[in-house]
């Protein structure tokens, strides 16, 4: 993602705080093991690219071409490094 160069090493932030329409790269997961394992198994693990499409309570995200709904608390467990707007 070349867009990431446009930003000066942005701080990782929880997915729930990523503005809608922006993309990011998953840096770390927190929360219970079973939850972390399942989201990794769904291709949402470290290094995955995620785009937040929208939503305000539960969020809609796109990972690897797949749309996922995440509750606010679930999104708070996923730390992402913003890479800029969706192409």
């Amino acid at each position: 993602m070349s867009a990431s160069l446009a930003r000066l090493h942005p701080e990782p932030l929880p997915l729930c705080q990523l503005p809608a329409g922006e993309s990011g790269r998953v840096r770390a997961l927190s929360g219970e093991t079973a939850f972390c394992q399942r989201i990794r198994e769904m291709g949402f693990g470290e290094r995955a690219f995620v785009t937040k499409v929208g939503g305000r309570g539960p969020f809609i995200c796109v990972v690897n071409g797949c749309r996922l709904a995440l509750s606010h608390d679930a999104a708070a467990c996923i730390l992402v490094e913003p890479t800029g707007l969706r192409s």
Binding site: Q37, R38, R40, G43, G45, G57, L68, A69, S71
Partner: protein, 718 residues
Amino acid sequence: MSTTSSPAPAAPRSAPVYALVGNPNCGKSTLFNALTGLKQKVGNYPGVTVERKVGTAYTQHGQPLTLIDLPGAYSLAARSPDEAVTRDVLLGRRADTPTPDRIICIADATNLERNLYLVHQVLDLGRPVVLVLNMMDLAAQAGLTVRADRLSRELGIPVIPCEAAHGKGLIELKLALSRPDLPLPRHAWDIPAPLAPAVAELQASLSAHEGKGPLVARAEALLLLTDPDPVRVAGSTPLSAATTRILESWKTRWTADATDSSGMLVAARYDAIGRLAREAIVPPAAGTAANPADATLALSDRIDAVVTHPLWGWVIFAGIMAAMFLGIFTLAGIPMGWIESLMGWLGEHVSALIPPGDFHDLVIDGALAGVGGVIIFLPQILILFFFIGLLESTGYMARAAFIMDRVMSRVGLNGKSFIPLLSSYACAIPGIMAARTIEEPKDRLATILVAPFMSCSARLPVYLLLIAALVSSDEVPLGTQVGLMLLMYFLGTAGAFAFAWLFKKTLLRGAPPLMIMELPPYRLPRLRDVAWQMWERGAVFVKRAGTVILALSIVLWFLANFPKPPAASEGEPPVDALAHSYAGRAGHAIEPLIAPLGFDWRIGIGLIQSFAAREVFNSSMGVIFAVEESEDETANQSHLRDALRGAARPDGTPLFTPLVCLSLMVFYVFAMQCISTIAVVKRETAGWKWPLFQLAYMTGTAWLASFVLYQVGRALGF
């Protein structure tokens, strides 16, 4: 690891057993229906309410083969009971289901990488696998080129491109299934070094103590490391003590030195999958490289922007619900007329065949009237199932769960609990079964406990009858009917939410669940699949009417007619004979309990009998108020309604006043009156504790609500 060293299993028996596995929403049911057609049996895995579908398919050469449709799963490391069934059948842990000889994996080509995760786990098992790449057309639309031949070369197994929805690729699949010599997968991947000794030790123990073959033992060993809190379901063979001990000691060691075994294994698997995907998938040409599936997403994005909008989402949701219930009332009228005519015709002919007497009455007033009074609602139930099927197959259902998440989280549940509750509008049994996808056991239990509050189709006949009796004019305005009906549905829903909140605050206290749910892309509904599902569920209802309801109707008739009054003289009013019967005595016995709700002993009979099944209320009112089966084709329903309006208390005042009708309806909204639901809850929660608790708290709520309504109504002069 490489499996080429082990010999291929002996040629399968006469009808080899195939298991069909895949992620949710990958088109597995469509493929199963296309392969088996009408030759399928739907049942349950013993001990769990997970639907078990087994069908017979034929190869291109006409050889029969048994096909087991396993529940959709993202991973063999199960998080919910239905995933646990998939895992256990594949690992040969279930005594009630044969270990499949061969496995058909179905993967969504538009989202291949994630779908390959499960495939990769299945390949570990070392059994012959056929991989079906479904939705190749959608992948092509998204600009993706999926090279089935390369994937086949890499994995050493047949890989069949397919469009199950259009029947494309089925012949190729059947040809692959007919091959007597399916090769074993060529499947090699690197297990992270720190975990390898543990895998080896567990594998040895599983071979020695569980009697597993080397490859299955290895697959199971890998799985045990990523099954942090293994979901054990009834019917699954437990691990031996030796293996459990080894697993525990490794886990303790990893906790001490902070080794994330689960994370390492998943990452290693995804590394291997990434290499496969790079080989097999040619992404679209430059320009949209950031997200290959953008093209298909664009449409879903636009629809989602409206459908999940904080305001418009709710407007659309309310509109769909209103259309669904209006449809039930307006569209069902015509087929209901046909059923009425049919039942009238049947009654007439049977009546002519049997000489008058007890047997005549038993058949006409007991069996036919009882079954007829229930089967008449088949059209409404079919329409309800049609709508639910439509919502599921278009992908809207997941969005409904999405917008409901905020409401559900207020009561401590998440959006996933909404689908079981919505299904419970049709029937609590599929609703409770749908709760199996909820991962958190406490949330699952809370959902199961409140699901029967949602007004099910069995309450519909009761509401319809009482609303008809309540609104005094013959020309019942549709608006009033629908309004009252919606009020009942609303009351039930509000009760479900209130109790869910209460349970999550007290008995089932737990952290708010973390929801992650796939939103399938919007698709045009597959009408054939919707009709299929409607047919399947309608058949269950008809079967119930033909068995349980028929038996109950006969029992009810007997109880309401025997023992005969001592001196049965001509012209004696039927009420006295009824009072003397078993049913009458039972009604009298509970009268003191229900009199504060405005009910007399005759309604009491209906209430007692409704504990078997709610819709029995109508047939029992028919028997009690001696509604004659009509000779012409006028509706039984209006006869029954007139009979209820004419019913009077001993002092001559009408029995079914509007207030009594309302109080009765409210009772039906809240009371737990369904033996089948109690049985399912018992099976689901593995014991009598929760179903009995549910019976008590729901019926107690019903009594209290009716009591308050009736007493306040009386005080206000109604």
